[in-house]
């Protein structure tokens, strides 16, 4: 399912088209096509082994694609463009014996900042990520969470045009997750496109503007989150109270119970169903103490996309 957007009218879009990649007999990417527009947070979802990391690495030329095109602003992406992108790989990597400040400064300069610009970025990001006091500490002496913050500082250490973040929230405590989420959103507000993968779907739902779901190397859903939800062929009905224990939904065409527990019922119905008619049918069977009729959550969308 693809929801069309007028992305191409925006400047500096990253477009990945028909990407293929095989590792021996294993197909990692099978014609994957999607876009990362500027200023948008794009949640990149998929089961393990679906091709997320391979697609992200291909943006930096870290895997040689079988075929496909990666365009930036409509032109083939080159090394100079990619140097303007921030990258946090799934397998984190820092120099353990370098200090936090030196590390961020080094990567800022590798990505194109001059000496004074790099210094400004270091001050800004270490301050923003609460690492100011650890500036002179060697990375190996930091906790896992703080190392993760340094990793983010490294990928943000210059005014990047695009951020590619592979599982940026894994292993973080809720406070760190909130900080990192805020920081990434600020970057999107500045105008940078952000492509981030995560298995924490609730978190992605809170953060992302757009969503790309990939399965077995193919993009199966993409578009603005709200548009994708609205475009779903299903609606989800939550009923609580005595009506949850009766089979009133037998009268709703194509209704499918997903969960029946105590006095709670969750149904999937066609999007064409009338919410008022569904509520009336429930009320006619027994008392209803709670009722919700909604488009799918991101988790629902994910399950729909992967299981069909």
């Amino acid at each position: 399912m693809t929801v069309a957007r007028e992305w191409t009218t925006l400047a500096s879009v990253l477009q990945l088209t028909d990407l293929t990649k095989r590792y021996g007999d294993v197909v990692a990417l099978d014609g994957a096509t999607f876009e990362v527009p500027p200023g948008r947070m794009v949640g990149f979802l998929g089961p393990n082994g679906s091709g997320k990391t391979t697609a992200m690495r291909s943006i930096f030329g870290l895997v040689r694609l079988g075929s496909g095109r990666i365009l930036w602003d409509g032109e083939p992406l080159d090394a100079n463009d990619a140097r303007r992108f921030g990258y946090m790989p799934e397998a984190r990597g820092l120099y353990p014996k370098m200090t936090v400040g030196e590390q961020v400064d080094y990567f800022a300069r590798l990505h194109g900042a001059d000496a004074s610009g790099a210094r400004i970025h270091v001050d800004r990001w270490l301050d923003r990520l609460d690492l100011g006091e650890r500036r002179e500490s060697k990375v190996e002496t930091l906790s896992h969470g703080n190392q993760q913050r340094v990793q983010l500082a490294v990928s943000l250490a210059f005014d990047s045009d695009l951020l590619i973040l592979d599982e940026p929230f894994s292993g973080l405590d809720p406070i760190a997750v909130a900080t990192m989420g805020d920081v990434i959103r600020e970057e999107a507000r500045r105008g940078a496109g952000v492509l981030f993968s995560s298995h924490q779907l609730d978190l992605v739902e809170d953060l992302c503007d757009d969503v790309v779901i990939i399965n077995r190397g193919r993009v199966v859903v993409q578009g603005g989150l709200e548009e994708v939800r609205a475009a779903s062929p299903y609606r989800y009905v939550d009923v609580s109270g005595p009506a949850a224990k009766t089979r009133w939904w037998n009268g709703i065409p194509d209704a499918e119970p997903l969960e029946e527990r105590d006095s709670r019922l969750r149904l999937r119905v066609p999007s064409t169903s009338d919410p008022a008619a569904v509520l009336t049918a429930a009320r006619d069977s027994a008392e209803v103490s709670g009722f919700r009729f909604e488009p799918p959550s991101l988790s629902d969308l994910f399950v729909e996309a992967i299981r069909g």
Binding site: N80, R83, P89, P96, V154, S155
Partner: protein, 401 residues
């Protein structure tokens, strides 16, 4: 963003990261100490091995022998210190305590404590003979000159049809010594700094920072920056060693000692050092990219050890004595052994300027090929999470953007 800038940034990080490390500081001090120690040893060791003067006891009856004995001793290139005693008893006591090597009891009687020193015995015998010659000549009614002419050895005049070039054995020995030393120093430098490159590459690979780096730097830029950074550190350490060496020379011998160090030889040694470090360090980096742990590096570096050790042994043992043999010629021109063998050849008096030019040209051409090959293997191996063969890494080399 130019490649030069990226390479410079990588090289500078390498330099900054290592120059502040205790390992670099300790090894720099060690190299300076070895250089100073070498000069001091060269000053002290000859004195240690120089023959000490004989301590000879004289009695009133033999005291007049002193000048004749000193004269004969000088023809033996030896010195005698004389100690005169009033009595045989006191002289024997000094001999017993080890203060004397011998006592000249009478002009023809020499007393040792436990072992006869044949050199001292010969000096005394010859001195006595010279003294007696005059008396015997008188008895025979001859002048001393007549007697000396009677016993003078027959003279043979030798002519050389084609005189060989004047050879100074001292210089030749020094040249051979410098040749052997240069092979040792180059093997040490290439192995030492090559190991830095190897371990550095493996560390970046195993802690995965290389993936973050390669998002901003092309693999070949990362490779070249790392090798050049370590080359700069190596040259810095060697310069410190050289300065310490020159300082120690000036301190012990004065400034006039410096010009005796052959400048051309030194320049050649530095040229070959740089070529050798570049050639091998690029190869060490390629090897490092194909393994994941330092333990795996030993077997992976074996192909590099073959030319390295081969060149070393030939440069150390064979070339100093045979600088212009066929083996020496071939190995000093073959690019992978030339850095270890050519300086040894030159120091040992071999190697014509044209051979040196050919060897350097070949080494530079090979270096270009090695950089290309190493960059391919490095690119293909550095992002693999398991150990890969050279050929697999070469094939998997990603397209460098």
């Amino acid at each position: 963003m130019s490649s030069t800038r990226q390479i410079r940034l990588v090289a500078m990080r390498e330099i900054r990261a290592r120059i502040g490390s205790r390992a670099y500081q300790i090894s720099t001090v060690a190299i300076a100490l070895i250089a100073v120690g070498g000069i001091l040893a060269a000053q002290i060791l000859p004195d240690l091995f120089e023959d000490e003067p004989f301590d000879l006891g004289l009695l009133p009856a033999t005291a007049d022998q002193e000048s004749a004995l000193r004269e004969v001793a000088s023809s033996f290139d030896r010195e005698i210190e004389f100690f005169t005693y009033d009595s045989l008893g006191s002289a024997e006591a000094a001999l017993g305590e080890g203060d004397l090597d011998a006592v000249l009891v009478a002009p023809d009687q020499l007393q040792f404590q436990d072992e006869v020193d044949t050199t001292l015995e010969s000096i005394v015998r010859q001195s006595l003979f010279a003294m007696q010659l005059e008396e015997r000549a008188e008895e025979l009614g001859l002048t001393l000159d007549e007697a000396q002419s009677l016993i003078a050895p027959a003279m043979v005049q030798s002519e050389v049809v084609e005189p060989a070039a004047p050879a100074d054995n001292g210089d030749e020995d020094i040249g051979q010594g410098v040749g052997a030393l240069s092979a040792i120093a180059l093997l040490f430098a290439i192995s030492f700094y090559g190991n830095w490159v190897l371990v550095g590459v493996i560390e970046e690979k195993s802690n995965r920072v290389v993936e973050v780096l390669l998002a901003a730097v092309a693999p070949w830029e990362l490779l070249v920056g790392k090798v050049l950074g370590i080359l700069a550190l190596a040259v810095g350490q060697i310069a410190v060693g050289g300065a310490a060496l020159a300082g120690a020379l000036v301190a012990t011998e004065g400034t006039e000692a410096l010009p005796t160090v052959a400048l051309a030889g030194l320049v050649m040694a530095v040229v070959w050092l740089v070529i050798g470090l570049l050639l091998y360090n690029f190869m060490y980096a390629a090897v490092g990219a194909t393994v994941n742990r330092p333990e795996e590096a030993t077997s992976a570096t074996f192909p590099l050890m073959v030319p390295l050790m081969g060149g070393y042994f030939v440069g150390l043992i064979f070339i100093p004595g045979n600088p212009d043999s066929l083996v020496a010629r071939v190995l000093s021109i073959f690019p992978l052994t030339a850095p270890l063998t050519m300086p040894s050849r030159i120091a040992s008096g071999g190697g014509s300027p044209i051979e040196v030019v050919i060897a350097i040209t070949l080494a530079l051409v090979t270096l270009a090929g090695v950089i290309w090959l190493a960059a391919r293997i490095y690119s293909g191996g550095i992002l693999q999470s398991s150990k890969v063969g050279f050929l697999t890494a070469f094939r998997r080399a990603r397209e460098v953007r």
